[in-house]
């Protein structure tokens, strides 16, 4: 079985997705800036399933400031803003259980497909939802 599989693999596509480029660029940051300028194309990541639990999307208008999400959040991601009666989420701590989405009485929170969340600054704008 093994020999058959090994030889057949010479002719088939690799099992892994070649993200972000077919061949490893010399500098990933340089490659990404070239992608931004439109000089290079990125190999897209594998699409996520429809009900993927990614970065939580927050609708500030719908939020009534009930703090139920803060009570159920296991990782203490959510901070309450008392003046505005709204919340701020620190995504760097999030465990993506989406219990806050289930708990929200007004559907102000939702699961989004976003998962490319790496950053060098844990309090950057990309990792803060408010």
């Amino acid at each position: 079985m093994i020999l058959k599989t090994l030889f057949s693999q010479l002719l088939t596509k690799p099992a892994t997705n070649r993200f972000p480029a077919k061949y490893m660029p010399k500098s990933v940051l340089g490659f990404l800036s070239r992608v931004k300028e439109g000089k290079a194309t990125i190999v897209p990541p594998v699409p996520v399933p429809p009900r993927f639990r990614g970065k939580i999307a927050y609708s500030r208008e719908k939020c009534i400031g009930c703090q139920l999400c803060i009570r159920v959040c296991p990782a203490k991601v959510i901070e309450f803003l008392p003046e505005a009666k709204k919340i701020r989420m620190h995504v760097a701590r999030c465990t993506f259980c989406a219990q806050c989405v289930d708990a929200c009485p007004v559907d102000a929170l939702a699961e989004s497909g976003g998962f490319l969340l790496s950053d060098t600054d844990r309090s950057s704008a990309a990792l803060t939802v408010q």
Binding site: M1, I2, V48, P49, F52, V72, P74, A75, F96
Partner: protein, 420 residues
Amino acid sequence: MPETQNVYEIPIGPIHPALKEPVRFTFQVEGERIRAVDVRAGFAHRGIEFMGMRRNLIQTLYLSERICGICSISHPIAITLAVERAAGIEVPPRAQYLRVIFSELERIHSHLLWAGVAAHELGFDTLLHLTWKVREQVLDILEELSGNRIDYAIPIYGGVRRDISPEQIPKVEAMIRYYRGLLEELVDAFLRDPSVAARTRDVGVLTPEEADLLCAVGPTARASGLSKDVRQDRPYLVYGELGVKAITPRDWGLEPRGDVYDKAVVRLLEVGQSLDLIETCLYEMPEGEITSFPKIPALLAHLKKAEGEGLGWHEAPRGEVIHYIRLEAGVEEPVAWKVKAPTYSNLMSWVPMFADQEIADIPIIAASIDPCICCMDRVHMVRDGSPATLLKEDLLRLSREKTERLTGHPSPVTRHGGGL
């Protein structure tokens, strides 16, 4: 010439490139032969029960999921069963079937993970890569059904959080067909391969008597021929109706020897058993609610009022996992939470398994019980800043004292040798 002159001591761990997790072995070796071994655990103690007792029950549920990255359905199932018994919560039938489906999917991915690790420990990395490549299918299905690749966040007190929609059923069926076709090839690659057999036959033997005496659980016990499976012995959820039978090497027409080869037999056969269970559940699953508490505030209020104690058990891929929980009315946090992970029961099996084996077989024997040290470590002894050792009598006394303290009633076992 005294024998002891030729015996050398080799310490391995707690931090060692061959170990995935911190645990320390001290081997007494004579030439290439292991004469004795001493195992020391306690390096990965995280105080997770203490943390859980300072969070409300919903937060503790997700903390329990993080006891183990591989058993991330088993621990939540055990804690939800415990809390449901303590708080008198009914689980709708459809939710029970869904829990079974998810825990069997987890068993498939855990056993395939183990098979890959075992191949790697044998030095057969081609097989590791092939096994882990096919493991992606079940992880994709878990991601499709739960939304997460690991740490699925599926069970909740009173039910489950996600249903399997009619559009998803064909995908699960396709996965079952994929593995059915593949299983024979995997069995061929592992069990009919002469080099795998040469490295695993009669290596790391655990006799049925030793397995029984040391209270081994899960595939470790079943490989020795013990018909021991929580799903069969104390059925929960819908496992009683599904009629699960413990799988031993006899199901493959072999008399159990309790060696590493038999452990691979049991785990690979259990992949097939899990596929059958998932298929049965998909067709027999009744329509209906998936949780008895669709509103989270109502669940929180019910749990706050609840008073009582509960025990939840589940056959995790590695063996029996037990959660004990005690709730008091008016308090959101559990007053007591105790976790017994399968590796805790299996750890002592290492001692007879290592006896009279070769040094080169240490990695595969250590891996053969599928150890999960971070699940298991519940205590770390420190006395005056240095590690301390406790003997069996002290441990018994301390554990009985803790049982009395946690449960609030005297230990049913009579004390002997105590200072009372």
